[in-house]
Amino acid sequence: MTLFFGGLIILLVGGFASLLAGRRPGLASSLGAASAVLGSMVAVIPAFRILSNGLTESSRLRWNLPIGSFFVQIDPLSAMFLIPILGLSAVAAIYGAEYLSIYREKRNLGVPWFFYNLLVIGMMLVVVARNGVLFLVAWEIMSLASFFLVTFEYERQMVCRAGCIYLIATHIGTAFLIVFFILLGCQAGSLDFDAVPPMSSSLAGVLFLLAVVGFGTKAGFMPLHVWLPYAHPAAPSHVSAVMSGVMIKTGIYGLVRALTILGAPPAWWCWLLIAIGTVSGILGVLFALAQHDLKRLLAYHSVENIGIITIGLGVGLLGVNMNSPTLAVLGFAGGLLHVVNHAVFKGLLFLGAGTVLRSTGTGHIDLLGGIIKRMPWTGLTFLIGSMAISGLPPLNGFVSEFLIYLGAFKAGLTGGSEAVISALIVIGGLALIGGLALACFTKAFGVVFLGHPRSSHAEQAQEGGWGMKSSLVILAALCILLGVLSPLVVKSAANIVSEITSLPLEQVRTELATVSTVLMYVVIASLILLGTVVFLIILRKRLLSGRCVRQAVTWDCGYAEPSSRMQYTATSFAQPLTDLFRLFLRTHKTISPPKGVFPGESTLHTETEDICERYVYQPAFKWISSALSGLRWLQHGRLQVYVLYIALTLWILLIWKLM
């Protein structure tokens, strides 16, 4: 615990220091980054310790706020979330130190670093807080810090809009959380989590719904996700990496924590979670497929992955509900493992996208291409990230999805009809998500990094410096390691899962042992794959040795010199799928087709708005504002009328109260 607070203090001091050093960008930047890295590294030590030994450390200080107490506690669950939070924050800080350097002249760099450290502090406190008020304060600090980071380039209109939408969304979500915590603390009288008495099932249901909405807004569940595709592209890339990689996970954390508090789940909770997860997953990846902006695409993929995580939680909850330990363990282990994995590969992808953005000056996919030759490191790491997020073996993304699949199959095997239905939904959903994700990332990687440069932007691309490269490499290596060492990794989830499912630790251990043996086989198969590939490489070398290997233009059915404009664009690549799902996507196409014998200029422009925003939120807000502006005549400036109000109020009150 002392180390944890030590890290906290380092972050705080470093943040303020860089704020004060703001006039000298270099100093501010290095101060901020250094303190972020150091603080995170210090604070992550207890997290690892607790995760390994499963002991809970807590400390409760007096706090001079009504019903507030500074009650923090690190249990395995918190530790499990702390590790990705701190790790990714540290890596992203290394990256950001270089990434922000282009703003040197224009900006006071102390401010972003101050808020960056504040964001990290907020996330740390959120996962360790055990008091409602403390949690909410930490939660809002986190949200505000991230808001200020999102609006880092506040001169740009689009950034302002993004910030505004984000702030409103998160604030409304928080409103639900406030009610949640108050209701939670109602019987107890104190808002400490450990003081919550067992509650009636109806109250628990209400609380669950509140938690789903409140935390789901932050996590980005499908109807509530509207802020995500705005905020992530607007923020500086290392910030979007942290936000998308770990900040939205605090929503998941909150949900899981709520589940641990609320007691035994009825069946409808599981179905709700599974439904939300499937919808978020499929729609998320669909919308990602239809995007033209790299970071916006990644943002929608966060929605998708949150969906997968939620499916995992749903399956686990189903296991608890059907009291089938195997199912519970598989579901929760898969979901939580995916939290970590997604943090790694999504962080990697956002950082890679940031490098592309920074060196080419555009995030528009159809303007890029062929830059893997100019930025090999970024290319390789981004490839690894794409493979991981598409859930391809032997990388980490596959492992967690694999566990959730297994859970679903087990449910399909054992359970009754409704279990089969949910299994069906999960399997079909995951399969579809997997296929679409593969399509989406072949598009993203293929069009951005491969082929010819599609514009001058892409031609001027060059590799990032050491700071950026190293952070990319670290994360890529983690993707591989987490995949290959998965048999060991899942074992460490024992404490967490038993904490969530309140199953005896030993049982969870045995379940996880079987899981890890299965994963062992997966690793063996992966090794076979590796061996074959190596063998084939050698074989190919042998076969090609002494034969002529020539370079030529791409075969294009007899065109003379294929220009880069003739390449397949991302839009056209995704078009079959977007057409297939046009029911949800509602893509607007504006076409001016080629006409005549000698066709002139002809264009195709597609744009895919978010359905929830387009068909739910905008109309709702329009309606409200128009309804309210209908009342504005009430105060139209006539003194006489105002006095009349007074008179009427007085007399109505007199007559009403003296009746």
């Binding site: 001079n64 019903i67 600090i141 910030g163 009610v179 109000y645 007074i646």
Partner: protein, 497 residues
């Protein structure tokens, strides 16, 4: 000590009427504020001796509101020190319709300001509700010239409405006084002085119908002054047309004083066992005010009016809190403090913005963060604070209120409250963020302000709001024990905890 509290500003007022030197007047103004604050702090340590056989006495509610007033006045006087230096008596162009106008003479301004302080102090210390009434009416009269500082017709209109509406309201409150006396008078026996303590002591023997009628009149009368919808109608005009420093005082201090008037009568009714009756009314008016504010904040095009309506919202929250009772009372008192600090801070920031951009139209102001860095930060911070987000104090108070509502099972009210707050948040965030962010050059040129002369932010313009902001931030993270005790004392004095 109470004598000193009353005399310092009064004497200062007389002085600044006779003194010719403008600088000296301003110095006196600041000195008055400092002296007053010093006396207030002293009153914290040793509670002062009652005067006029207990008509003038400083009980806990009085002390709370006196402190708020005093701190605000200190900040405002500092702000005004810089403000008046800029607003020397030359004829100026009105930036909305381009007509020329002069300002009221500085002497009148300073004198009225100090008188205003004196009268507000009298409100906080007087226990005789008749005297309270006198003081309350006096505050109206002292502040009317302040609102008419910029002598053009809009401010005149605002002043006229303020005068008439408040006077009418206060007159009704006077009738409330008499009713209270009737309620207190025993058949045959000699009449009793309507001093709060005596009335509370007589408690059960009061004549209920008259008491109820009295409370109704107090509610309507002082509610007009406090700005409870639909009696608040003077408030947006006055706040938007008066100089920002005055708006800060009006909404930070004056509204609270009026609220004190209602609280006194509420105390008496509670002593007579009529607290239910009063609290329902307070809840009703609170919700009405918040709702009314919601309607007019959404899509409000004038940022000073928006702040004014937000004041309506927050007095509504105060009333609601006291109406809910129990734990909410504490919340309401804390909210009063937070609202005063935050709103004053915001009005001062708005004043700085107004000085540079020369417009009160929200859409014509962009990029405050770049043009006026400090003010921009204050503006954003104030926005966060006023919408009740951590780590600012208002979060704590609103949270306490909500908690009390839900614990009493008044879910409907809680939901309505949250919904309206959310809508208000949407309205305010759009306006505030768009003002703070963006480039801003275009807007500056558009409003014919490209010279960097008055873009520089003077210490007097930014330090006072910074101070207030720091205070409310502190209240959000850590409530000092003394303050906590005082707030709880007040809460228990008006029937909560």
């Amino acid at each position: 000590m109470i004598r000193a509290l009353l005399l310092i500003p009064a004497v200062a007022a007389v002085l600044s009427l006779v003194i010719r030197n403008a600088l000296l007047r301003r110095i006196i103004l600041v000195l008055t504020a400092i002296g007053h604050t010093a006396m207030t702090i002293a009153a914290w340590h040793t509670d002062p001796a009652p005067l006029l056989d207990g008509w003038l006495m400083l009980d806990k509610p009085g002390l709370l509101f006196l402190t708020i007033t005093s701190i605000l006045f200190l900040a405002c006087s500092l702000y005004a020190f810089g403000y008046l230096a800029g607003e020397a008596g030359k004829r100026k162009q009105d930036f909305e319709e381009g007509v020329l106008f002069t300002n009221a003479p500085g002497a009148v301004f300073c004198a009225c300001l100090e008188l205003f302080l004196a009268t507000m102090t009298l409100v906080t210390v007087s226990r005789h509700i008749g005297l309270l009434w006198v003081a309350m009416e006096a505050t109206t009269l002292a502040s009317a010239p302040l609102i008419y500082f910029h002598r053009h017709h809009r401010s005149l209109e605002a002043t006229w409405k303020y005068l008439l509406i408040c006077s009418v309201g206060i007159a009704l409150a006077l009738l409330g006084n008499f009713f209270m006396a009737i309620a207190a008078s025993k058949p045959g026996s000699e009449g009793t002085a309507i001093v709060v303590d005596i009335l509370i002591r007589k408690g059960q023997t009061l004549n209920i119908p008259w008491l109820k009628a009295a409370f109704l009149f107090f509610l309507v009368g002082y509610g007009t002054k406090m700005g409870l919808a639909p009696l608040h109608t003077w408030l947006p005009d006055a706040h938007s047309e008066s100089p920002s420093v005055i708006s800060a005082l009006l909404s930070g201090a004056l509204l609270n004083c009026a609220f004190l008037g209602i609280l006194r009568s509420y105390q008496i009714c509670a002593a007579a066992g009529q607290s239910e009756f009063c609290r329902d009314l307070l809840v009703l008016f609170g919700l009405m005010s918040i709702g009314w504010a919601t309607v007019f904040i959404l899509g409000q095009t004038d940022y000073k009016r928006m702040l004014a309506y937000s004041s309506v919202e927050h007095v509504g929250i105060l009333a609601l809190g006291v109406g809910i009772g129990a734990g909410a009372t504490f919340g309401a008192m804390l909210h009063a403090v937070n609202h005063s600090l935050t709103k004053a801070m915001l009005f001062m920031a708005a004043g700085n913005i107004l000085a540079v951009y020369k417009t009160k139209t929200t859409t014509e102001v962009r990029g405050v963060l770049r043009v006026l860095p400090v003010t921009g930060v204050l503006w954003i911070a104030g926005f966060i604070a006023i919408t009740g987000m951590p780590p600012f104090g208002m979060f704590v108070s609103e949270f306490t209120l909500l908690r009390a509502m839900i614990e009493q099972g008044r879910i409907g009210i809680a939901v309505a409250f949250l919904a309206m707050l959310a809508l208000i948040f949407v309205g305010m965030s759009v306006a505030f963020l768009n003002m703070a962010q963006g480039k801003g050059e275009k807007e500056l040129h558009l409003n014919g302000k490209s010279d960097s002369s008055d873009k520089s932010e003077s210490v007097f313009a930014v330090f006072p709001p910074m101070l207030l902001g720091a205070l409310t931030l502190m209240l959000g993270l850590y409530i000092p024990t003394a303050v906590n005790e005082l707030l709880h004392g007040v809460a228990s004095a008006i029937g909560g905890y």
